[in-house]
């Protein structure tokens, strides 16, 4: 299972969800979908923009957890 650590990166960069949505160019609703783990997929272009705005690597935002360990 892939989990999104967007909250962590936003806290580190002291950025709000609104600010991120404006800079990345996606809606706040979509950011919420991403944060809450309801997203089915993420485009590379979106991931590229998020990493560029937050100054991080995809691995800082995306984390894999083995479902069997839960």
């Amino acid at each position: 299972m892939i989990i999104i650590n967007l909250d962590v990166m936003l806290a580190r960069r002291k950025m709000s969800v609104t600010e991120l949505s404006e800079k990345v160019g996606i809606t706040i609703a979509n950011i919420s979908v991403l944060k809450n783990g309801r997203a089915k997929a993420i485009r590379f272009s979106t991931l590229n923009e998020i990493c560029r705005i937050l100054g991080c690597q995809p691995g800082d935002i995306l984390e894999y957890i083995d479902d069997d360990e839960d």
């Binding site: 996606i26 997203a39 089915k40 997929a41």
Partner: protein, 159 residues
């Protein structure tokens, strides 16, 4: 044609068809039945059973028309591919399947009673065939609508 216009047109046609079927069953069928009973007094006793049979055959069709109108309303709301529409199409398919079986039983019963005249047989067989086609089409549409709904949902949840 825009989606809203299409929806309104479909709703109008749906209401018209529903009203036409209701009028046919409530007014035209009894009148025609009485005329046939007068022309063929030997079969006058079958007037009421046949009338009830026709009314009961119309019930699934009328319910299907009402369900279709709800599908058209969703089309107007730009929500064509939704789980509810897939379920509604599935219900319509089941209603027409019931209708097919009901009409087939009618043909069988008329044959057993020795009243399966050519006109009666052709009408019932045609209605049965149309009902069967509607069953197949609605079942296929239900499946396709559900698959489209899943694709749409995944697309909306692709950030």
């Amino acid at each position: 044609m825009k989606q809203k216009e299409l929806s309104n047109l479909l709703i109008f046609i749906g209401v018209l068809v529903t009203a036409a079927i209701a009028v046919c069953c409530a007014l035209i069928a009894p009148v025609m039945g009485r005329a046939v009973a007068e022309d063929y007094p030997d079969y006058a006793y079958m007037y009421l059973p046949c009338l009830i049979y026709i009314w009961m055959a119309a019930v699934p069709v009328l319910i299907s028309c009402v369900i279709s109108i709800r599908i058209f309303l969703e089309i107007g709301r730009d929500n064509s591919f939704c789980e509810e529409n897939a379920a509604r199409l599935r219900h319509i398919g089941r209603l027409f399947l019931f209708e097919t079986v009901y009409l087939f039983l009618g043909i069988t019963l008329m044959g057993i009673l020795g009243m399966l005249f050519l006109t009666v047989f052709l009408c019932l067989a045609l209605a049965c065939s149309v009902s069967l086609c509607a069953t197949i089409v609605c079942s296929a549409l239900s499946h396709l609508t559900y698959k489209a709904y899943l694709l749409k949902r995944d697309s909306e949840l692709t950030i």
